[in-house]
Symmetry: C2
Subunit: 348 residues, 2 copies
DNA sequence: TTGAAAGCGCTACCAC
DNA sequence: GTGGTAGCGCTTTCAA
């Protein structure tokens, strides 16, 4: 860099500082004495630029602290490199690994996550408009949508992947753990352990995951001619696991020897209620099973018998499917289903 | 709407569908027979538009499925209505409530979260450039930055708030739980319980939160003339809590009657190791304390004695401070510190 | 390989 | 209250 060039760069830098502006490609061009399009090209991998030009531009860009404006780029390229992740609070609170894994996988591909969390699974409507306004390239849906809402995305050609949910009526991509199969497996294990009096603690009524799991368990129980099953509604929380068992026994006067919980966290509450409130031996007097493979379920104090979702695989699959459909929107929907892994634990 | 107008709208709709394009304000203007600026005004709250115009435009916009393009808006207004949340995995895994609460608070203000998660607290550098490129209005930092990195944000006038961290050398806004004070309190409680042989299980060495907490504990212990303290490094995980206690006793041959853990999750691992591996009575033979007020800490199987961070208040404070500085960048930095709340539990 | 010019979709300013 | 016009910062033709 010659001295006069140097001075010119510093002058531009000073000018920007005074007006409190961030450097644009135009500023870099001016300071480097090249065209604005040349600067743009220097930041595009694989563009046709001479070595000399690239070096000069990089130099000036560094001095001015220039980085391309991703927003402006999105406007012209029609690619924001942002995806929306719609997740309900429950999922994140009880299964925070999902967000961590998604984030890792997306960041590896240079894609950024716009996070939308829902208080209740039924709040989706409010945020779909926002997802649309922000021009995201795609959406991961870890929350239940109505068919109408699903078709909102479909009609607007926004690629999306359902996580742990699917729709039978609308063609869509999805990644799922086979909840149905997993619950059947758990029921069979409970039967093998000679359990007779079953009860079920469900998740909140608007949770499709809970509904699927409970259908799986009930179906299998009915196949085995066990129809006298007590069902009580929980809300996925530890506390509701405790309370459900207590009210089942104390109020409904139903003493089970097998408790099927719609998720692990409720099962943990259930274990504590069984041990502390009722002084039951688990699993001697009562078996308790959950679903998820949540981290605390494997802690020594619990060692819950459960079915573990292959979360890492599922997240990766969701990201793969979504990114493929962003690259090539003509790809047909794809559904991938993973079997849960039986985790024996010590409560059955 | 007259019939001919109706037809015109439908014609535009058809045209867009054929070219697979989303409706722009210009399309709406064309279809409604008004100017493009009029359409823009109709979507700006408080703009001066006649009732008739507003109604007409809304009507057409609905038919065409028009929503303003937030990206284009950001470009001209220089406001993206996006904030970056930089969080390390540990924080999210062990304290997922933070993200949920931040998300809630930001969404109430119509602000969206761009999520950046770090494998290790030291990975920050890579993502700062991206934060900058995406023109976020502000940043919540729940990860430690070097002073250089902090000044990167400062020089570029990006408002930011440190969460549970602060810098002594660079003026910056922060929201913190008083870790130092909280640990002192715990030490005093342990002393009151007649504990004599102390040990500490720290978090990972790059965690500033762990460092502060442990300094608080050590300082107080030294004040009380207790200098013979065994320190072992954990990594915040349940497993490291277990292993640390075991190696402390079995390998280092140091039998403590008080264990101070840098977070709750390790304390839980520690409790399980004490009870199951060593057959200790907790707290009769050994006291164990944590820090955080993590949800599982209050479960009946543990009932950990700990100091609970007022997470909701802290998240709200962080959002408040950030939004104020986005509205008025001339505001000086502000630090807010909250005392942790002692949660008696049953392990002391 | 380089530069000029158009334009992504919007807001903001200006006349009227 | 309404419409025309400029321009946010960038990528992408198209000539040179």
């Amino acid at each position: 860099m010659t001295k006069s060039q140097d001075k010119h760069v510093l002058y531009v830098k000073e000018e920007l500082a005074q007006n409190n502006q961030r450097a644009t490609s135009y500023d870099v061009a001016r300071a480097a004495g090249v065209s604005q399009s040349a600067v743009s090209r220097c930041f595009k991998p694989g563009a046709s630029v001479s070595e000399k030009m690239r070096k000069r531009v990089q130099e000036v860009a560094t001095v001015l602290g220039y980085q391309p404006n991703a927003i402006a780029r999105s406007l012209i390229t029609r690619r924001s490199n942002m995806v929306a992740v719609v997740i309900n609070n429950d999922t994140n609170l009880y299964y925070p690994e999902l967000l961590v894994e998604l984030s890792r996988d997306f960041n590896e591909r240079g894609v950024h996550m716009l996070l939308f969390t829902l208080e209740h699974e039924s709040d989706v409507a409010n945020i779909l408009d926002q997802v649309w306004q922000y021009q995201v390239d795609g959406v991961i849906l870890a929350a239940q949508l109505s068919d109408t809402q699903l078709s909102f995305l479909g009609q607007r050609d926004i690629p999306f992947v359902y996580y742990n949910r699917t729709s039978d009526s609308i063609p869509c991509s999805s990644v799922q753990c086979d909840h149905f199969e997993g619950e059947r497996l758990l029921v069979d294990k409970l039967i093998a352990a000679k359990r007779k009096r079953f009860c079920i603690i469900t998740g909140p009524s608007d949770s499709s995951v809970s509904a699927t799991r409970m259908q799986g368990a009930l179906k299998r129980l009915h196949e085995l001619d066990i129809s006298d099953v007590q069902i009580i509604e929980g809300d996925y929380s530890y506390h509701s696991g405790q309370e459900s068992l207590i009210s089942m026994i104390d109020e409904l006067d139903w003493q089970p020897d097998a408790v099927i919980c719609a998720n692990d966290i409720m099962a943990l509450g259930c274990i504590d209620a069984a041990r502390n409130h009722f002084k039951f031996k688990v699993p001697k007097q009562i078996s308790i099973v959950g679903f998820d493979g949540a981290v605390p379920a494997s802690w020594q104090a619990y060692q819950l018998t459960t079915v573990t979702q292959p979360l890492e695989l599922m997240a990766q699959a969701a990201v793969d499917i979504l990114m493929q459909r962003i690259e090539d929107p003509s790809l047909p929907p794809e559904k991938r289903s993973f079997s849960g892994v039986f985790s024996p634990g010590n409560t059955l």
